[in-house]
Symmetry: C2
Subunit: 307 residues, 2 copies
């Protein structure tokens, strides 16, 4: 599983930071979280291509999070996409997409399935699901988490062969957790040839938001939390007023949620000339494994080993 | 007067070309022609800043020409603009901007004056005007030309002083073409102390369009013609079908309009690996002073000397 921060700016793009969008790639499927202006250009730069985009999850309908949708949807139409595209987000999303389509008169061969959602499990894939939770911004805003199911334990190939099981369909039965009976009547139990189950991975995404319990719950034990880090600590009042978080506030959320790594994004343009190390001095004391994302930064989340 | 091609791609952005937008800067005023997605980011990269944008002229309502408007309008709001902003373009522009504003709920302190226009003189400034003309695309599309008034001739300072005119308000009278009477009764005629009038400059803009007489008329004697150059010569049929021009077709338009320089833009993504010299071989035989624009390319148009 891989995360790429396509755009990492706050409300206004800068010379170095494009508007918000995050890619989550999992086994050939690509999901976008938010789609600020320029997202399609950042996708081109990332080398990912447009073909495998499965769904787009929108946090809220402030322009910096959706102004890249029209262009991306048009480019998907132009590039001959036929597979339906799911777009999920808060109420208002349908109207936004419908009016864009009708004003600009573009027609692709693919269907756009807009799903206006609230909190809960909002998407189910093969071996994972995506949850949404209402976070604390100045307008209705959703955070998201992609959560993988547990993976079956490691298949003990040598042991299976030594038990006299021949390579073929019976292997698959055992891998799926089913016991098998051999021709000589012996029973081979799946649990005897599979290692312990391997926990699934989890990535949580919460921008724009003040620090809040909902994010702690949503991100609980995540491998990666992508969190609002718009302001440095001395601007806590501004952060609260505008519905954002400071770096140390985000660090406290990461600590309380026991996540493994914290990625800060939605960075205010005022910090362009300040080194990240200086910005994160205090936050690192609260939660050490923290980084301020830059555009097109990649984070690999490897499969977990058995516990 | 300066032209900057902010984005030079065709319908789809590439690694090197952003979506269409052209800046025309004249004495501290900035005009945009079209506003594809990412235009605000290209403005940041150009170093121009947002403060001096006076008006935006939209050629037509295909998405690649307007998807940068929402983000730019929001950024102008965020940056505290108070001066009204004029946006001119074909019918449908008002609905597009109104729905964007209402869907995304952003409110600036500045007024957005949308003017749905047809052909004619659509804008008058201090010492220039802007004309529109319907060009030949698959939907109602306008080309534009900024045309300067003639400038008064060079003021012959030495001669004026030798005639006994004292520096002060009388200078201005003479510069404005008015004769003056000195205290001793002598009359100094303006025409005797001003050189011949200097022709104004002219820049024409016509994308997306097939080659057509309207563009020849619009661009007549322009210093610079920015023209649709989406396709190379062998794709003339595609160009016609899609409402665009080949490089040689654009060159013929430039020749017939007797422009000084031709800048091709709206370049199809298929040419990213082909040298411009190879693409322009035939076109240069028709009209030599031709260039394929790249993003953020600058063209200076100096004030004309006396004729």
């Amino acid at each position: 599983m891989k995360v790429i921060t396509l755009g990492t700016s706050g409300t206004i793009p800068t010379l170095f930071r494009n508007l918000p969008s995050v890619v989550l790639q999992r086994e050939g499927e690509i999901f976008l979280f938010d789609c600020g202006e320029g997202t399609q250009i950042q996708i081109v730069k990332s080398g990912l291509g447009f073909g495998r985009i499965k769904g787009i999850f929108i946090s809220h309908l402030h322009g910096d999070h959706v102004t890249g949708l029209p262009g991306l949807l048009m480019t998907l139409a132009q590039s001959g996409r036929k597979e339906p595209l799911q777009i999920l987000g808060p109420k208002g999303l349908k109207r936004f997409i419908e009016t864009i389509k009708s004003c600009l008169g573009f027609f692709g061969e693919y269907e756009i399935l807009v799903n206006e959602i609230e909190e809960g499990i909002v998407y189910k894939g093969d071996g994972y699901w995506i949850e949404s939770s209402r976070v604390d911004h100045n307008t209705f805003t959703l955070g998201y988490a992609l959560i993988e199911e547990e993976r079956s334990g490691k298949f003990m190939l040598k042991k299976v062969l030594s038990l006299g099981v021949q390579e073929g369909p019976l292997f698959r039965e055992l891998q799926l957790g089913r016991d098998i009976t051999l021709k000589d009547g012996r029973v081979v139990r799946s649990k005897d040839v599979l290692g312990p189950k391997r926990p699934g991975r989890k990535v949580a995404y919460a921008i724009d938001t003040r620090p809040c319990q909902k994010v702690i719950d949503l991100a609980k034990d995540a491998d990666l939390l992508i969190h609002d880090g718009m302001f440095s600590d001395e601007l806590e009042e501004d952060a609260h007023l505008k519905g954002h978080s400071t770096h140390s506030q985000a660090a406290r959320i990461a600590k309380e949620a026991s996540v493994k790594k914290l990625v800060l994004t939605h960075i205010s343009s005022r910090y362009r000339n300040i080194a990240n190390a200086d910005l994160l001095k205090n936050a690192k004391e609260i939660f050490p494994n923290i980084v301020i994302a830059h555009d097109l930064m990649k984070f690999e989340i490897p499969v977990h080993k058995s516990v």
